[in-house]
Assembly symmetry: C2
């Protein structure tokens, strides 16, 4: 089988130093520009000798690529990148060898970073203030220059960028709704970057366009729309997905706004929970509704919309002659993790002919769990759903979908029929060109990593991940609900993985409830958070909400987190906050 025998030969041998161990430059101290293989006790002369001999070696290696059947055979060598520049890489003549060496060096930096990220003895972050980083940390210079830097400097910059960043995949990073580092998803992103294409037409993204179509259909099936019918698109984040939902609702009820503007419609009113995500407000401002025409709905003590309040506000708006048009029900609020009662809201939407959007950016993932999906009961009655796989499902950033029950609205709302992209006389079925549905033109390929993860984990894998995260949050809740020094922001077990609590330092425990206690408590979480970041041990968010002073919001979406990390977090908060 000749073709098999004649294929690519990529030999990845490394040169070891005199200790028989490879020197990883990321770990070498201070002088970051030094080549990894140079020992501290080399004299300057020796160094320059070694460098020259290496340059020769590199040159030889470049020449020694032998071609077999059109493919080059590579031997990984310690390459001297100090004499190589971007211009020496592909498509440069003889650029193949330096390109491969450079990329393999990058991969080593990245794989080393990945291994350390999962190692609990590594810090979550190495915090520095903006002015410190701007002044330049140990030669890490952020300024751009007119002349090119060597690839060696570029590699150093890559290491420094990671060094001074935040390890969002670390088992003890709980700061955001998006945490963790999924390896298959990461591989998917690397491939996506390498393919470097654009979602607007089937012509230049045939496989990705079909993957998006199939995945959106699967998501609609899981929502519960018959046969997965409907429409949808991946957008650059939940805020844009929510913006789509408002645009589509307006197009459904007042299509003439597209051509004539808001002047063609009566005064339109939108409704959303006071606990909902601020993107609904951003959309109401951007799309020309005005934030005053977005009515905030009251919630119960758990942060769930009170349906009677919605109905009362709809009636009040109608009495003023306004037109209630759109209701957003949140499935998993940002802070409390509350699920609005979709079925009761849907009843009201049907009664008053309003669009029902479900913002499941954070909670949508629970649809994958047989145990927890009841929290979204009624979601199939929504007209549109936002669902961010990059949150609860652990897909790398960004990956957000807007799903629409009625087909054709996305296209009708956004199409402008640009002749240069969406030629009707192409040789393939142009209904696969999805670009005209989008408010974007070029659109990043967000689907592949998600598709690949789904293949690799299966639906059951996502389910297991979600169930684990909810189990962990129940563990946290049960551990602190009666613990001395901890106070829950709301009673009963959380609906999502959000666990909201105050830590009360001993100095505040005997204070009576009142203004002084509140003011002092308000400062506790920011102080503990600052100390956490300074020590780099863990990260968790805090915020005030309504009349409640600053409290911690713990969220768990990180697949690397275990009970021991939860224990650690509790002890760390106690350790840092004890003397406040």
């Amino acid at each position: 089988e000749a073709s098999t025998a004649q294929t690519t030969n990529l030999s990845l041998n490394r040169t070891f130093n005199s200790y028989g161990k490879y020197n990883h430059p990321l770990d070498s101290p201070s002088s970051r520009k030094r080549l990894g293989f140079l020992q501290k006790n080399n004299s300057l002369e020796e160094r320059s000798r070694i460098v020259s001999s290496l340059k020769e070696r590199t040159a030889k290696t470049l020449l020694s690529c032998d071609n077999i059947g059109g493919d080059a055979r590579f031997r990984r060598t310690e390459t001297d990148f100090s004499n190589l520049f971007a211009r020496d890489l592909l498509p440069a003549k003889n650029g193949e060898e330096p390109t491969m060496q450079f990329l393999l060096e990058i991969v080593e930096i990245l794989t080393s970073y990945i291994r350390k990220t999962f190692d609990r003895s590594t810090k979550v972050l190495d915090f520095h203030h903006p002015h410190q980083l701007l002044e330049g940390m140990e030669g890490f210079n952020l300024e751009l220059s007119d002349q090119p830097e060597s690839l060696e400097q570029i590699l150093v910059d890559c290491r420094d960028t990671l060094k001074y960043g935040v390890r969002t995949g670390h088992p003890r990073f709980f700061n955001q709704l998006s945490t963790g580092l999924d390896i298959v998803g990461l591989a998917g992103e690397w491939l996506t970057s390498t393919a470097n294409t654009n979602m607007f037409t089937y012509e230049i993204a045939p496989v990705f366009v079909l993957m998006e179509q199939l995945t959106l259909k699967k998501m609609r099936e899981i929502i519960g729309w018959p046969n997965g019918e409907g429409d949808g698109i991946f957008s650059p984040g939940g805020a844009i997905s929510n913006m789509y939902s408002v645009m589509i609702a307006r197009y459904k009820f007042f299509p003439e706004v597209k051509t004539k503007g808001m002047a063609a419609a009566p005064r339109l009113i939108l409704f959303t929970s006071e606990h909902s995500h601020y993107s609904i407000k951003k959309a109401s401002a951007a799309l020309g509704f005005g934030t005053e025409n977005l009515i905030l709905l009251n919630t119960d003590e758990r942060g769930r919309v009170i349906p009677a309040d919605l109905e009362a506000k709809v009636i009040a708006a109608k009495q003023k002659g306004y037109v209630p048009m759109y209701v957003n029900a949140t499935a998993g609020t940002t802070v409390y993790g509350a699920f609005d009662p979709i079925n009761e809201i849907a009843d009201i939407c049907e009664k008053y002919n309003m669009w029902l959007h479900v913002d499941g950016a954070w909670g949508g993932g629970l649809l994958m769990s047989r145990k927890h999906r009841y929290k979204l009961n009624g979601v199939q009655r929504a007209n549109s759903v936002t669902w961010n796989p990059h949150k609860m499902m652990g897909v790398p950033l960004q990956c957000s979908a807007i799903l629409v029950r009625e087909r054709g609205l996305l296209q009708g709302c956004n199409s402008m029929c640009a002749g240069y992209l969406f030629q009707p006389d192409k040789q393939y079925d142009v209904t696969y060109d999805t670009g005209d549905k989008a408010i974007q033109c070029g659109r990043h390929v967000d689907i592949f990593k998600f598709w690949l993860m789904w293949k690799a984990k299966g639906t059951v894998g996502f389910e297991q991940h979600i169930d684990n995260c909810l189990d962990l949050s129940a563990y946290l809740y049960n551990k602190i609900k009666n613990r001395e020094g901890f106070e829950m922001v709301f009673n009963e077990e959380p609906q999502h993985t959000n666990v909201c609590f105050w830590y009360i330092p001993p100095s505040l425990r005997s204070l009576p409830d009142g203004r002084e206690r509140r003011e002092r408590l308000h400062k506790v979480a920011p102080k503990i958070k600052a100390m956490m970041m300074e020590s780099g041990t863990t990260m968790v968010g805090y915020q005030p909400q309504g009349d409640k002073v600053n409290f911690f919001r713990m969220v768990i979406s990180n697949p690397a987190a275990t009970r021991s990390d939860i224990d650690f977090l509790i002890e760390e908060i106690e350790r840092l906050g004890h003397d406040l």
Copy 2:
């Protein structure tokens, strides 16, 4: 120096087959599920024996990671991925070894793809119709399933995804404004995916946030705003950047629209060239202006706005009692590559107190070239500028900036002060939290690859790339302007790299100008394009424009393209179109 000696040991040895050559699975025919090391002449029994022994070996390797100073030492082995699943990767116990093996295998797939992309003997694409891919090509199954697939299948899927995709970095891919595959930019994207963080706060993206700030300042300096003062943000593409410009203009003149909606403003009129990008139209629809209130401006034969037409239309709008508010001048139109006369348009904007936006998504890159930047003369008079480094500057997708001359408008227009993200009581200077300027919440890190490329190439490197591309397009223009069978869509040398032309097959050359010729000519470009895609040799776009029937639009932004590729394109069009 103990720390140096005890660092990571990542040995990348490979096992070779009996021919002493590594079998690259990407190149092995038909049975893609077969392990690369198995020879065709192995009997089934032998195969199963080899597989079992490998499983043992893998198991042994997993156990043999010895820990030195907290870091594991790896030896790359032929890993049997058929028995490994996503759940075996990090953060799984003992997941480090399979994770490294899996990622290194992915990297091999990607580096092999990269090398072939730059090899002109590789096809640009291997075209298949949607129904063919959906039916499953040689076992490439796009459907998602409930149960996990093995990592071996995942690797096969990765290879197939690349195989059936389009090589946008190929020297003969000219289909889009974004082409090419920059190796440093690619490395930057791999790192970005690995860091997997979000731009909204300094807290979780300290380095990236500062890089964005410095890079935007540099871009504003290049535009010519004093001291690089002003504001800006990277957005998910030029369409969203253009949308920002309209939002900010509205906020500047009618800030009350943010709270009260479009009802609070008079009838507002926007102006843009009939040749401008359709995103301006999308924005006028989405933001509630209505497409009828976007007035299209006439252009000269080269596709440049006629300033007198703008002034006449502004006066006409005012006479109707409307309020002319916003003018978009395009720097590099999508099809003709035309540059609107910014200075003359700026005069009119000043006279009538209108916002001047320059859409330099495509042409902004020319600002980096001392030779060509005069084409944007007057750009420093703009109130806002869209500039997509992912187009003419060859940065991987996506990378688009909206730059604003007046500081504070972006923030004022979009801020909603979400307490859970933008806490005022953080321990660092929170003016670095950029998220509230955006219409997005989470925002992908688009800056790093661009920053890294700028470091690696220097400003001079971008300049050289741009000058080269424009030289190449001049070469193409000069070669075909008087060539038999070619007809230019407009006379004189193009302003940008866009070269627009018809190919006239011999059968049409003697036909008199008239309906029949036009109708037949209209079908020529689509037919040639279809044949190009079927044969996979090259890709170039076509479209009609106004009353002009389908013509080819050649654009050059690919750093891999050379004169020989231009020659090839011309000959290929002649070869494919000769008998039409």
